[in-house]
Amino acid sequence: MNHGIDQDAHGLSGTDREPPSITDILGSKAVLPGESIDEYKKARRLVIKELVAKSPMQLYLAEKMLDGLWWMRRYEEQKRFVIADAMVDFMVGRLSGKVTDEKRPELMQLVLNDALSPGLADILKKKDLTIEFVRDRSMAVKQEQLLELDRLIAMKAKELEGLQRSYEHVTHRKLYSERLALSVEMMRRDVKAIEVKTRKARATDHELA
């Protein structure tokens, strides 16, 4: 996908504006609370521009492809969150007294940003722990949940592939139908030609007889 096409998400000219799509009719929401609607809209414009989607069906499929990518990103984010949550659980459990439940949100933010303070790194070191060890343990504990999320990502990837093929099919539908009509016409002509040949051959046989 060419991300360099649309530099300005809001500065679109009149010709760039998309017609209403099936999604508008259905009123389905693409983003969850806490996600950026502007980012989604920008990505939508990019995808539509990239695929040159014009008809409502093309627009719908382009949106669904973007939604697939969006869901994959969402699941990836959730994986990150699950690991971070388990890491915090482990640290709170192992470093009781040093790291209390009140510090949990702060610690969570640090783990999510992958930026542990030197103080906390020292505490971990005193307990003979490393952040890598904590991460490995957390991943082992949450293995089932992570596998489930991986399965969901794989499902979305497969769905995306199917939608892409459908998009191509819908886009070239007219071409396919014209090609089909032409081949039917050609077959009809061939059949007529064979009929003419057969009639001529019969006529010659009669004359000879």
Binding site: L26, R74, Q78, M155, S166
Partner: protein, 183 residues
């Protein structure tokens, strides 16, 4: 295995309840075991206005009416699956995949029984009046048992609902993709 006495008591008790009598009550109880309703095909009457609008859009694009109807139905089916996924994902993020409100409602329903339990506790504190002790102990056991059952049902329901919904989403997306490729 139940004893003969228990069997007879069950039979006698079952005659006391004849189930929902009104049409509305029967309709409500028919949905008791519904987990997500995704296995049911899209109802063209209930989804009528939306279906017609999508159908009209597809017709304007040059689809023939039969194809337009089929694809519109597949789109609506896919969308309802996606909507459930979104709802479940939101709940998962908020850590409320198990229906806490349902459990709380049930606990509220059990309030009168809880009063009995409280009385039982009082009797335990004042053993000089022992005549109600046995029935109250039974009542307390019943309350605990019913609450446990309810909570475990809720948890099982939530656990079953998420993977099943993924299966139905996969089915809906495959059907939509296949319908489009048949064009």
């Amino acid at each position: 295995m139940s004893s003969l006495r228990r069997l007879q008591a069950n039979r006698a008790n079952s005659k006391l309840s004849t189930g929902p009598a009104t049409r509305l009550g029967r309709l409500r109880s028919s949905r008791n075991s519904t987990t997500h309703g995704l296995s049911r095909p899209i109802d063209p009457v209930a989804f009528g206005p939306l279906l017609n609008q999508v159908h009209d859009v597809l017709l304007s694009e040059g689809f023939d009416p039969r194809q337009a109807q089929e694809i519109a139905l597949k789109i609506l089916d896919y969308e309802r699956n996606i909507a459930l996924q979104r709802e479940l994902h939101e709940k998962r993020l908020e850590g409320r995949l198990v229906d806490a409100i349902g459990i709380a409602d049930h606990v509220y329903e059990l309030q009168p029984m809880m009063a009995w339990v409280e009385e039982f506790a009082v009797k335990r504190l004042f053993p000089e009046i022992p005549e109600y002790e046995e029935p109250l102990r039974e009542a307390a056991k019943w309350v605990v048992k019913r609450s446990r059952e309810r909570v475990s049902r809720q948890v099982q329901f939530a656990r079953r609902r998420a993977p099943e919904s993924v299966r139905y989403l996969r089915r809906a997306s495959n059907q939509l993709i296949k319908a489009l490729r048949r064009l």
